[in-house]
């Protein structure tokens, strides 16, 4: 029983990390249909922002309030990735909205530049973020360990999903956003500034990647390729869930995360992840559009 609960907790934990990295993609890819290959690098930017804020705090503030750096780091990571995403959209993506495959390649060029920039600034060696004391350790209940930072990440994901949901479906801006994505010409006729909506939507997606980076920094050392480890799973989660549905992404991420953990019981973790990906690929043959399909009668998407 204890073992089962442990596995379940790990599954939820891994799913939440996959979900956090794919949430930004659910916005940029799901809504805007832009494949942002630099998404992993935005995760990296968030992680390095966390590291920078930590160093800043230990340089300026007295020891007593240093642990609070993490609460500054989350908005800082979001802001850094948000700004970078906004710039990227303005200079590059906006020229490629009609050429999806080309936007994929162009953003890959950006990701090469960002990776090298990270190496130039922070060095090729990985840097470490020390989790604040209140996130170290964990609760022990009946032989199971629930580490605080995992619980924190799960909570963080919950907050992020909720706020994305509120922004997308309950706010005025979300209405504009969905209007532009569904029928750009009509939305423009209604007086919506579609360029602005595009820019902010993309930036929000990137900012979410920054928050993901903030939590990724807690889990291991940060180097220039940290984002690459998450990007494949994130894309598969969005595709599996069905492009354009928030609930689909949540479900897709949970399936990939928990399936990986359960498969790990039988084999090594890297093979488990590979097998899960292969199973998802086979599943996508059955339902190429993913779990949740937005009904559409047009021949070409």
């Amino acid at each position: 029983m204890a073992q089962f609960i442990n596995t379940l907790f790990n599954a939820v934990s891994l799913s939440s990390i996959v979900l956090l990295t794919s949430l930004g993609l659910a916005v940029t890819f799901g809504l805007m249909r832009v494949i942002n290959m630099a998404h992993g690098e935005f995760v990296m930017v968030g992680a390095y922002a966390t590291y920078a804020v930590q160093n800043l705090f230990s340089a300026i503030f007295p020891k007593s309030i240093q642990p609070l750096y993490y609460f500054v780091a989350i908005p800082a990571a979001f802001a850094a990735a948000f700004a970078l995403g906004s710039l990227l959209e303005f200079f590059i993506i906006s020229r490629l909205y009609k050429r999806v495959v080309d936007s994929l390649l162009a953003t890959w060029g950006i990701s090469l530049i960002l990776q090298q920039a990270a190496r130039s600034i922070f060095g090729t060696q990985g840097v470490n973020v020390t989790a604040p004391p209140f996130l170290q350790g964990g609760i022990f209940i009946g032989g199971c360990t629930f580490s605080y930072n995992r619980i924190f990440i799960i909570a963080l994901v919950g907050i992020c999903v909720l706020s994305v949901y509120l922004i997308m479906y309950k706010s005025g801006f979300g209405k504009q956003m969905r209007a532009v994505m569904q029928n750009r010409a009509m939305a423009q006729c209604m007086g919506i500034n579609s360029r602005m909506v595009d820019n902010v939507t993309f930036a929000i997606g990137s900012g979410l990647a920054g928050i993901a980076g903030c939590s990724v920094a807690l889990l291991g050392s940060v180097d220039s390729t940290v984002g690459q480890n998450y990007i494949v799973n994130a894309f598969m989660a969005v595709v599996l869930g069905g492009v354009g549905k928030l609930l689909g992404t949540v479900l897709g991420a949970s399936i990939i995360g928990s399936a990986s953990i359960f498969a790990e019981n039988y084999t090594s973790s890297s093979i488990a992840k590979a097998i899960v990906l292969l199973i998802v690929i086979v599943f996508l043959q059955k339902r190429p559009q993913g779990l949740f399909v937005i009904k559409n009668r047009s021949l070409d998407e």
């Binding site: 999806v100 080309d102 060029g109 090469l112």
Partner: protein
């Protein structure tokens, strides 16, 4: 002039080949100081072969695969496994010892003989591509969805290769191998190196000729039709998915051949050739060289790699990544045709300027003729 215009790519390719063919001779007479440049050009030949495959599937058919590194590495591993067994004399390798094996595993057995290894080098990547391609294209997975799936495939294969380290030597890969013609490093083995170099050059010429032949026929036109309007191609009665699968398999085989040649020149093969970033690097060559023309892929593979080689040896490794990222980005956004696109757009203009006088004379003739035509109509 007309011949040059129509067959300019063949002329260009011939120039590249002649230049390449002279390199070993220059080395022999001491004009080139080190043999490393020839070895590197050999690797470039391997890259060019793989790039031609990428160009067929991406430039012509419009399917962007982000997982061709998988096929490249599979070809490379097949070659390297044979070569490794040659150097150990058919006994089990060190890493298998460490992995706790006492006899040669079954998968390694066929690689004892060269013909079987060559056959598997083509059959395994081709077979995998055929299975994957058949289902994916039959179910009409297209566009970016295909790209995402192909990158997931490469990533899955990469992690499996690393996890099965008793068979594949994990992260390190298969190292310390000679070429099919024996050792190629050092002055005493120069003959072997030249033999390998010319054999690879010949292979590249054959592949170029074959692909250009395919692309120039109706088959190539259908591929372009699929790229530009897939549904129209369906409605015109073509079985698009079969064409797509065929091109996918063909490009996988070309990537595998490229990988095998690469393993010969490089003396090792590692799983890093299987990664997504390596796969996209191949796409970068084609994009910069010019998609949709076979010659563009060859030019791109040589140019990008030679630039990287000369910059990296000068201690400018850091700058290189900025340059390639920026150049790639700019190429994608502004110059869809890459270098060949630019040349074919501006070369005729330059030619025209050179033969301006000639043209003016011709134009005067044309104008006079059309005037005469109008005149006769009017009256």
């Amino acid at each position: 002039m007309k011949f040059l215009k129509k067959r300019e790519d063949i002329v260009c390719f011939a120039c590249i080949c002649i230049l390449l063919a002279f390199m070993p001779i220059l080395l022999n007479y001491g004009v080139l100081s080190s043999s490393s440049i020839v070895l590197f050009l050999g690797k470039c030949i391997a890259f060019a072969i793989a790039a031609i495959g990428i160009d067929l599937i991406w430039g012509y058919t419009g399917i962007l695969s982000l997982g061709h590194g998988l096929y490249f590495a599979l070809g490379g591993y097949a070659m390297a496994m044979y070569l490794k067994l040659q150097s150990t004399g058919g006994k089990i390798t060190d890493f298998m010892h460490t992995g706790g094996m006492t006899s040669l595993p079954l998968i390694w057995k066929p690689f004892l003989s060269l013909p079987a290894a060559m056959l598997l080098m083509i059959l395994v990547p081709g077979g995998i591509a055929a299975i994957v391609g058949y289902f994916i294209f039959k179910n009409r997975v297209k566009g970016v969805y295909f790209s995402i799936i192909s990158q997931a495939l490469a990533w899955a294969a990469y992690s499996i290769f690393i996890a099965l380290s008793p068979y594949t030597n994990g992260n390190v890969g298969i190292t310390e191998i000679k070429s099919v013609f024996g050792g190629i490093k050092g002055p005493s083995n120069q003959r072997n190196m030249f033999l390998l170099f010319y054999a690879s050059l010949l292979l590249m010429i054959l592949i170029f000729a074959f692909c250009r032949f395919l692309a120039g026929r109706k088959f190539g036109k259908i591929l372009v039709a699929i790229r530009d309007g897939e549904n129209r191609a369906y409605f015109s009665g073509y079985q698009v998915s079969k064409y797509k699968t065929f091109v996918y398999v063909l490009s996988a085989i070309l990537a595998a051949i490229g990988g095998a040649v690469f393993a010969n020149f490089n003396g090792s093969i590692t799983p890093s050739q299987m990664t997504i970033s390596y796969s996209i690097t191949m796409v970068i060559w084609v994009a910069i060289g010019g998609r949709g023309t076979i010659i563009g892929a060859v030019i791109g593979a040589f140019l990008v790699n030679l630039c990287e080689y000369s910059l990296s040896s000068g201690g400018l490794v850091e700058i290189w990544q900025y340059i390639i990222g920026a150049v790639f980005c700019i190429t994608i956004i502004f110059f869809k045709g890459g270098i060949t696109g630019l040349v074919s757009k501006y070369f005729p203009i330059i030619l025209k300027k050179l033969s301006k006088q000639d043209n003016i004379n011709k134009n005067i003739g044309k104008i006079e003729r059309s005037r005469a035509y109008e005149h006769s109509n009017g009256s």
